[in-house]
């Protein structure tokens, strides 16, 4: 008996035309990092121009100088000295704790809501209310409940992260192909295995969407809560300089905040997502390529 013949070959994983024929200029223009840098440069240019026209807006150079002083703990004039690592570490810690609590709770809630009608009845409205409430509300409520302790900001992170995870994961579960559920039932696959491989595996794509949104909005609401109801952290520091009418400091901290969240997305979430989607070898076609 000869070796069985393969009826189908392995199709090429990537059907996009190779960039072989493209010129360097074309390739550069299509490369996402390059476009990203271009956009950033443009943004800075516009900022600098506004600063030029409107003297109240600090220029880039001013902001950088201010932040260097802040980082090195130097003097800002008067009794004000730079303070950088302490607020940063405080915020990061609150953020990490908030995510560590909120992400699993939200994910579990989402899986339950997606999988069970009783859970849907029980939690769905609550989740939607949480989703609809702006972070400022948490800031004031948290200040009311906890005073100005660390639990206010942490709670705000938790409460923003939970609904984003829950909504996305439950949608993911409900989008699982019914045929796969039927298959699992016909083979009597035990509940635990179904939960891990079918429910969790199947809702992972929307889970990642949820995670990304959760990371973004969680960081957002942390800053807002710190702005209004904390005596430490990045948000507090930005407000401190805002109240002191030192706009380079205020803007510098906001920039820092944007840079941090971007780095987090690029360095942590994107690679994780790529890893989780190894199975999806279909290339994603962009609109222009489809035309």
């Amino acid at each position: 008996m000869g070796a069985p013949q393969d009826l189908g070959g392995f199709g090429p994983f990537d059907v996009r035309p190779t960039a072989e024929g493209a010129t360097i200029r074309e390739r550069l223009l299509r490369s996402p990092p390059f476009i990203g840098l271009l956009a950033l440069a443009l943004l800075l240019l516009i900022w600098q121009w506004i600063a030029w026209v409107n003297t109240r807006v600090p220029g880039i150079d001013e902001i950088v100088r201010f932040m260097v002083t802040e980082m090195s703990g130097g003097s800002h004039g008067g009794a004000l000295t730079g303070e950088f690592w302490a607020p940063l570490a405080t915020s990061m810690q609150r953020y990490a704790v908030g995510l560590a609590i909120g992400v699993p709770i939200g994910a579990a809630l989402g899986l339950l809501i997606g999988a069970f009608r009783w859970a849907r009845g029980l939690f769905n409205d609550t989740v939607l209310v949480l989703l609809a409430l702006p972070a400022v509300v948490w800031a004031f409520l948290a200040a009311l409940w906890f005073g100005l302790s660390a639990w206010g900001p942490i709670l705000a992170v938790v409460l923003t992260v939970v609904p984003f995870m829950a909504v996305n994961l439950s949608a993911g579960v409900r989008n699982i192909e019914p045929g796969l559920i039927q298959m699992s039932r016909s083979f009597d696959v035990p509940f635990g295995r179904r939960f891990v491989h079918l429910l969790f595996g199947g809702s992972l794509p929307s889970g990642f969407t949820g995670l990304r949104l959760a990371f973004m909005t969680g960081w957002n609401s942390l800053l807002i809560v710190e702005w209004f109801g904390a005596t430490s952290g990045v948000g507090w520091r930005a407000r401190f300089w805002y109240d002191a009418l030192r706009y380079p400091g205020f803007v510098g901290w906001i920039f820092l905040f944007v840079i941090l969240i971007t780095l987090l997305d690029r360095l942590l979430l994107s690679p994780l997502e790529r890893r989780a989607f190894r199975w999806n070898q279909q290339p994603t076609l962009t609109f222009e390529e489809e035309l």
Binding site: G8, Q182, S186, F187, V189, W279, N280
Partner: protein, 255 residues
């Protein structure tokens, strides 16, 4: 020894938003299968074939009547090959197999690989379904159904989405594997050629999900595509279906 007893089985789907009339998928179907036979259920599209298998597999409930699939008196273990591959896209081929397997151990991975080899897919265990062709995915589905060591094998037009050449070659695979194990098999198709090549018995359904005819085929195995004896029986089955078409057209109830 496995038995499948189907008694006066009806299935009526309630009206839906798109279809205000209720649909009768099965209308009093009775059939009994005993022992290691390969039974083909042949009927036109919409005659309730998938519904029948789903009820036997226990993933749908009958409206009335009863279905029992038993192995030595206890509920039979079912292996189901679907119309589509139905693999988890986010799990590798071997993990898809282990997903339905009873135990998890080194042995079960070896077993999974054994059945993959049997359908000629020894070297794709660690690939994802999206990396396989449609025919290969369907073969994984066949291997998966055999892996659970089923008492009753259910096959729902497993080759209907494939091109004729691939379909024929997979039929040979199926016949070969089946000859090694001789599980009680209920194979649903609208392809008479396929049914005659594979089955010991053909149950013909007509629209509305009622048995129209029931014939046994006593040809030696393995049967070859295009064998004159096979072709004669195919012609005979087709003739009976034509007669049914006429009967249905002229309003006669059954024959």
């Amino acid at each position: 020894m496995a038995t499948v007893l189907i008694e006066d089985l009806t299935k009526v789907y309630p009206p839906t938003i798109n279809n205000p009339k209720q649909v009768q998928a099965l209308g009093g179907l009775s059939m009994s299968i005993t022992g290691n036979v390969f039974v083909a259920v042949v009927g036109p599209s919409g005659s309730g074939k998938t519904t029948l298998l789903n009820i036997v597999a226990g993933v749908e409930l009958p409206t009335s009547g009863s279905v029992r699939a038993l192995q030595e008196g206890v509920p039979a273990r079912v292996g189901y090959v679907f119309q589509e591959p139905r693999l988890l896209p986010w799990r590798t081929v071997v993990d898809n197999m282990l997903y339905v397997q009873d135990r998890k151990s080194d042995r079960s991975r070896r077993e999974a690989e054994f059945y993959l080899q049997m359908v000629g897919l020894g070297d794709v265990a660690d690939l994802y379904p999206s990396q396989l062709s449609g025919g290969m995915q369907q073969r994984v589905g066949i291997a998966r159904a055999f892996l659970v060591n089923p008492d009753v094998l259910l096959l729902d037009e497993p080759f209907s989405h494939l091109d004729a050449l691939t379909g024929r070659s997979l039929r040979d695979y199926l016949q070969r594997i089946w000859l090694q194990s001789r599980k009680t098999a209920l194979f649903v198709t609208h392809d008479v050629t396929e049914a005659v090549e594979l089955a010991d018995r053909i149950v013909m359904l007509r629209p509305g999900g009622v048995t129209y005819d029931d014939i046994s085929i006593d040809l030696p195995r393995p049967r070859r595509h295009g064998d004159p004896a096979v072709r004669d029986i195919q012609d005979e089955v087709l003739r009976r279906f034509d007669a049914m078409g006429a009967a249905v057209r002229f309003g006669a109830e059954g024959v």
